[in-house]
């Protein structure tokens, strides 16, 4: 009887839904009071050797008993020895991660999602505008540019945080500048420790000349900031196709199956998180969508 075909469809694939692979925390870098970078390495060396990601992609990190959370990868995609995740402790899972130590084991699935178009942007000027926890998913882009600096034109990073204490990776800015990346930092509120720019990211756009025909704008951060960055970019006649946005949504599976992260026709986990803005535009101004 087994040899006979029913009309049912068969697909060969034998994994288990949401089954995690195990990864060890090899190092923890404290970034700010509520943000740290967790450096992970698969317990199984062959899995580590086989793992690669593209700048902008994310992993699902699982803490048994607490759940899974989508975390963007913030490390160098050409470093195959370790995977960095810069995590803000705000939810159940991320707070559980904050209590883990070096040597502890977490579940890891990934990489998932669409990357920043680093290849397509070759030959262009690049303007990165991001805020707060929006820098970590863009750091792999910065590393990529540093590795292949000659392939890109003028590169600018305009990064803002609430206060100087909330800035991510402050010790790296000089290295980036040495690699001819114009890193411009701003904070919403100044204080005694800060002598640089004060003001939100979109406010400083006026100081930069963007070649409308040849600049790609990449943005990630709070949705309100993204909104204004896009207005500024459009006001400078940057074509929609040259604006790229990374979005955040509630995600449970990472594979476009559970439905949670939908935004219009898109599953942000599968079709995003990085979108070319022309794809987002029809839904961008619809409230609570």
């Amino acid at each position: 009887m087994a040899a006979l075909q029913t009309t049912a469809i068969s697909i060969s694939q034998t994994n288990h839904l949401l089954e995690p692979n195990w990864a060890e925390i090899t190092a923890i870098t404290n970034e700010t009071s509520d943000v740290s970078t967790y450096w992970l390495k698969f317990v199984d060396p062959s899995m580590q050797a086989g793992y690669s990601f593209k700048p902008g992609q994310f992993n699902m990190i699982y803490v048994p008993g607490f759940g899974e959370s989508a975390i963007s990868i913030s490390s160098d995609s050409e470093d195959r020895d370790k995977i960095g995740h810069t995590i803000r402790f705000v939810g159940n899972v991320t707070r559980a991660i904050s209590r883990l130590k070096i040597g502890d084991i977490v579940g890891l699935r990934g990489p998932f999602g669409s990357p920043w178009p680093v290849q397509e942007m070759e030959g262009k000027d690049i303007f990165i505008a991001c805020g707060g926890i929006g820098l970590p998913p863009l750091r792999p882009v910065i590393y990529h540019i540093m590795h292949h600096r000659e392939k890109y034109g003028k590169v600018t990073l305009l990064y803002g945080a609430r206060t100087s204490g909330d800035l991510m990776y402050p010790t790296e800015y000089d290295e980036w500048r040495k690699a001819d990346i114009d890193a411009q930092i701003t904070v919403d509120r100044g204080d005694a420790n800060w002598s640089g720019r004060v003001g939100v990211v979109p406010m400083w756009f006026y100081q930069f000349r963007l070649d409308a025909r040849n600049t790609a704008v990449l943005t990630c951060g709070p949705e309100i900031m993204i909104r204004f960055v896009i207005y500024e970019a459009l006001a400078r006649r940057i074509p929609l196709e040259n604006i790229f946005v990374s979005l955040e949504r509630n995600m449970k599976c990472g594979q476009g199956s559970c439905g949670h992260c939908q935004l219009g026709p898109y599953f942000v986990c599968k079709d995003g998180p990085v979108f070319r803005f022309d794809a987002l535009q029809p839904y961008f101004n619809v409230e609570e969508f």
Binding site: T6, A8, H16, C253, G256, G259, F289
Partner: protein, 374 residues
């Protein structure tokens, strides 16, 4: 009337109704668990049945927005009761599935994956709309790039006996959606119930083999004509209609319509529509930890875009209002689904209308949206 010739795939035969029990028995002998409509607690459910006697013989269902009644009527049909809240979804995409259990082991965890095995189901009485819904869920759970193992395991062994609908209910609109009442494809056997006989169209080799040596005759021209007429009549008797001509554009162009807010006043955000919908597929995964923290099990459960936690993010809820959630549901069903999976997400079964306690009727809401935008 015994016939030693196996009917060909695509051919239609006529059997005396009691002969159908032989087919059911043969399915059981081949390891199938028979699932069909049956009466339980004075209502209609899908559950295990042994033979035809357990089918809702002589029943009909009366359905309108927010109300369902199972009624003993004066007819001699097994398949005239249009289904209730339950659908075949609960067998292929069960409401609750254990995924794995983890045991703490030093720094790490030892995993034991739950067994994927499920019974081989034989679904008896799958309506055209329901078959369309199964095909829609196939697109979701068995994508070329990602197949859900729990769904696939169940789906690939299902035997389907579909039924042409001859007596649609008050909330039915499969004809509008182009799915019914005639079953198109995807069945092993397709059944049309006439007064005296069942007509069976053979859809698969397995079905052919089950018919080996049973008593049948080839369906006569008269029988086929009677069946055709009954199906055409049923198409005219749909309780609801939905104009799909301007879908999905109508919905997607009116995401800012004030009408959503008006629906939000009525919608209970209870999630019933999504749970009875045979195509709704959203799920959540939850962990349950033991008291000593050393064991945890992970379970996949049905979720709903009407649930508060559904779109929750650390920064707040993406869809904090009931109207935004209703808009998400409807604009997905009749809008963005098309771009995602190539079809609309609604098959016209009418369950969301019948089982909405607030009597919200998507066919009316779409009509209202259309009227407003003129």
């Amino acid at each position: 009337m015994a016939n030693n010739r196996r009917p060909e795939i695509g051919s239609t035969i006529a059997i005396q109704k009691p002969v159908f029990n032989i087919i059911l028995r043969r399915l059981q002998e081949n390891g199938y668990q028979i699932i069909g409509p049956r009466v339980k607690n004075e209502t209609l459910v899908y559950g295990s049945i042994e033979n035809m006697d357990e089918l809702p013989y002589g029943y009909i269902t009366e359905q309108k927005a927010g109300a369902f009644r199972l009624i003993q009527a004066d007819h001699k049909h097994y398949f005239d009761a249009i289904p209730g809240a339950q659908s075949w979804k609960q067998f292929l995409f069960p409401p609750c599935v254990d995924l794995f259990t983890l045991r703490k082991n030093g720094n790490g965890w030892e995993i034991s994956n739950s067994k994927l095995d499920s019974p081989s189901y034989a679904f008896i009485g799958v309506r055209a709309c329901e078959l369309a819904a199964i095909q829609i869920q196939d697109n979701i759970f068995m994508r070329p790039d990602f197949a859900d193992p729990t769904y696939r395991e169940r789906r690939q062994r299902v035997f389907i006996v579909s039924v042409n609908c001859l007596a649609p209910a008050g909330t039915c609109f499969c004809a509008s959606m182009g799915n019914g009442p005639r079953v198109k494809d995807g069945y092993d056997l397709n059944l049309t119930e006439l007064d005296d006989v069942f007509l069976l169209t053979v859809g698969s080799e397995l079905a052919r083999s089950l018919l080996d040596g049973i008593e049948y005759e080839d369906a006569s021209a008269f029988m086929l004509t009677t069946a055709e007429r009954s199906i055409e009549r049923a198409a005219q008797q749909m309780g609801r209609t939905l104009d799909t001509n301007d879908l999905p554009e109508l919905v997607l162009k009116n995401l800012d319509s004030p009408h959503w807010k008006e629906i939000g006043e009525r919608c209970l955000s209870c999630g019933n529509c999504t749970q009875v919908c045979p195509t709704c597929f959203c799920w959540d995964a939850v962990d349950q930890m033991s008291l000593d923290g050393k064991t945890t099990s992970r379970t996949r459960v049905w979720d709903s875009c009407f649930n508060p936690g559904y779109s929750y993010l650390a920064g707040g809820n993406t869809r904090p209002t009931i109207s935004s959630r209703y808009r998400q549901w409807l604009s997905h069903k009749l809008g963005t689904w098309k771009e995602q999976y190539g079809t609309l997400g609604c098959v016209g079964c009418g369950r969301c209308i019948t089982w909405c306690p607030a009597e919200i009727d998507l066919t009316e809401e779409i009509a209202a949206l259309r009227k407003e935008t003129r």
